[in-house]
């Protein structure tokens, strides 16, 4: 029988007399089994698939076009370009979307949030090839301030616009999702509005924001394959060459490498998400 006073003992145990050592303390950070799987599995799969590709590449008989395109130095260069396109765009997305999202949860601007999210929605709904090519035509016809913008930066701009939505939306949702009593508790103990934002709201919204960043990373990594249309490089070049010269091996290689890179980037995003999640939540 559990009596009235035994329960609070386990609940309120404190002093040296308490025997609460037996009470199991839940861990500060809980990592679900699914998360563990999603962290171990992708790199393993990527490594296996890539090894398969290496073996095929070293043993297959390639004609001169294929050999030219599938030189290791070529593959490496395209991969680096692809990663650069993705990372630079992702950083820009975070730099633009997080502050914008925060602004849209403050005071009067709150009312503008649906409109801005709507615009970002439209941006994402637009076909990505169209967005990239249109921006290219626009910038080459009317160079802004007379400066000629390279294909790389045009592609980055397009990819940034494309990846904005998930981060923007998740920033707004994440901050709005913070328990209002915690915000009031922050204000109630004398934090300024700004320090409540920085010390309470943003840290608590980080898991949601970071999951938006991961989504954006994957979107951008996939879409960066289209950068080859405006001569901005990336793994899309191999795929594109394969299509125009009708070399099946190039098409498969391009598609495979893009997919593997996207998987790796998504995996890195997960790690980032885990690493930035504040302890205790």
């Amino acid at each position: 029988m559990s009596t009235a006073t035994v329960e609070p003992e386990t609940d309120t145990d404190s002093g040296p007399t308490a025997e609460a050592a037996a009470v199991r303390v839940p861990r500060a950070r809980v990592i679900s089994r699914e998360t563990v799987t999603m962290i171990i599995l992708p790199p393993v799969l990527v490594v296996i698939a890539f090894l398969g590709f290496v073996i095929w590449r070293q043993t297959a008989e390639l004609d001169s076009v294929e050999a030219q395109q599938l030189r290791w130095s070529e593959i490496q260069q395209r991969t680096v370009e692809h990663i650069l396109l993705t990372l630079v765009s992702a950083v820009l997305v975070v730099v633009v979307a997080v502050p914008l999202g925060v602004l849209l949860t403050r005071g009067r601007l709150r009312r503008a949030a649906p409109i801005v999210v709507g615009i970002a929605n439209a941006g994402q709904a637009a076909p990505s090839v169209g967005l990239i090519v249109l921006l290219f035509i626009w910038f080459s016809s009317y160079p802004p301030f007379g400066v000629v913008v390279s294909g790389f930066w045009i592609a980055v701009l397009a990819l940034t616009l494309y990846g904005l939505l998930p981060v923007l939306r998740n920033t707004i949702v994440g901050i709005q999702g913070v328990d209002p009593t915690l915000v009031e508790a922050g204000r109630g103990v004398g934090m300024t509005s700004a320090s409540t934002l920085v010390r309470i709201e943003l840290p608590l919204a980080i898991p949601v924001i970071m999951s938006g960043v991961r989504t954006a990373l994957v979107l951008i990594a996939g879409t960066a394959s289209l950068a080859c249309f405006i001569d901005a490089g990336g793994l899309g070049v191999i795929l594109q060459t394969g299509i125009s010269l009708f070399r099946f091996s190039l098409m498969v290689t391009g598609a495979l490498l893009i997919a593997l890179l996207a998987l790796l980037i998504e995996w890195a995003g997960r790690l980032l998400e885990l690493a930035t999640r504040p302890k205790g939540i």
Binding site: T3, V6, T12, S14, G15, D179, R187, V189, G190
Partner: protein, 401 residues
């Protein structure tokens, strides 16, 4: 300013609280014809616990939040210790007013220690002073600093979180503490403990505490004074719990206090006002046969087993004692203890769930004091009833406490 309170005698020098005065305070929300708070004028003496109670929507929480400017009054003035609260910025003001919210409202991404250290941090205390203060406060609210300082809120039970919430409110040693339904989110038994602890902390610190609750029993138990509000924060009655129970101002108060005001007085009386019964006690390791013989001679059918510090650790029946050669500290399950400062209400509650139909009373450091049983409580209730009857017959009630 010195005041006599229901629970303790307070010397003016001990009081670290400050007086709060509300003068014709009005809060009107845009678009509403009726003011949420209409000309509330009130003086809260330094060093007292004042409970705001009333039906939901009566403006009690609004009134509370106007004191730390979480809600700005539409008109009227509020002073703390004679200073108008508008003389400093709201953030500045709030750093000098403790604020305790339901469930503790701890910041989940900060450790217990960091939660308590928030206000000292805002006030720019240095690290060493803050760390010392955090440990001191965790100790005060009954949490071992070494064990709990670095835990995260989700690693604590609801009651423990609430304790940390109280510690956070006390962190910068503010003269005034505001509490908004502080114990609303914990189970009744934990709540009873937390209430007892708040009272014992208050006996030490003598802060001015303003506490909102919807629970009239909590108000009676904790309050030196109770403010009963009706819609628009009109004062229905503002008086000591004894006077409110004995002489409700009108039907609204009578209804609100509810039936059985004699029973409610049980919340005002404390266990240490009863005369304790004695029973046979034995030390751990004593010979069972001797202990049983002593119990038989005294006519007891159970023995309270004490440890070296005279703390009760078990309460076996004679048959359970004879099962072992020497007196053991088992079985622990039947041990039912009550703090000597617990109310009679809590005592009845506790005894109802006990196997012995009585409870062991413990004093300071959990030392054994004696037993209470139903008869003793009932006898005390009868005397209270007689006192209440006299009071309603126009006789000024003598302090029941």
């Amino acid at each position: 300013m010195s005041t006599t309170t229901a629970n303790t005698e307070v010397n003016a020098s001990d009081v670290s609280g400050a007086e709060i005065c509300l003068d014709k305070v009005v809060k009107r929300y845009g678009g509403q014809r009726v003011a949420a708070v209409n000309e509330l004028t009130l003086s809260i003496p330094a060093g007292e616990i004042v409970m705001f109670v009333g039906p939901s929507g009566c403006g009690k929480t609004t009134s509370l939040k106007m004191i730390n400017r979480l809600i700005e009054p539409s008109s009227g003035t509020i002073t703390i210790g004679g200073n108008d609260i508008r003389s400093s910025s709201p953030d500045e003001l709030r750093r000098n007013i403790g604020y305790v919210i339901q469930g503790g409202s701890l910041f989940p991404h900060l450790t217990v220690g960091a939660n308590v250290a928030v206000v000292p941090g805002l006030l720019g205390w240095d690290k060493k002073r803050t760390a010392e203060r955090v440990d001191e406060l965790l100790d005060l609210v009954g949490l071992d600093p070494a064990r709990y300082r670095d835990r995260y809120p989700r690693q604590l039970s609801g009651g423990q979180q609430q304790r940390v919430g109280v510690a956070r409110g006390l962190a910068a040693d503010p003269p005034v503490i505001l509490m908004d339904e502080p114990f609303g989110a914990v189970d009744p038994i934990t709540r009873q403990r937390l209430q007892d602890e708040l009272l014992s902390i208050q006996r030490e610190l003598h802060k001015t505490i303003v506490c909102v609750t919807h629970d009239i029993d909590e108000a009676i138990k904790l309050g030196d004074r109770i403010l009963i509000l009706r819609e628009g924060a009109h004062i229905a009655q503002y008086d000591t719990p004894e006077n409110i129970l004995a002489a409700p101002a009108d039907d609204f108060v009578t209804d609100f206090v509810g039936a059985g005001s004699t029973l409610k007085q049980l919340s005002l009386a404390r266990v240490d006002q009863l005369e304790f019964a004695t029973t046979t006690t034995a030390q751990i390791g004593e010979s069972s046969r001797e202990a049983v013989a002593r119990a038989r001679a005294a006519g007891d059918d159970a023995i309270v087993v004490l440890d070296k510090q005279q703390r009760p650790v078990a309460w076996p029946t004679l048959r359970q004692v004879t099962a072992t050669e020497v007196v053991a500290d088992r079985p622990r399950e039947d041990l039912v203890t009550l703090d000597h400062r617990a109310t009679l209400n809590d005592a009845l509650d506790t005894m109802l769930t006990a196997t012995h139909a009585s409870a062991i009373v413990t004093g300071a450091r959990d030392q054994y004091l004696g037993l209470v049983d139903f008869d003793r409580v009932v006898e005390h209730m009868r005397s209270l009833e007689r006192a209440a009857a006299e009071a309603t017959n126009g006789v000024e009630p003598e302090g029941l406490a």
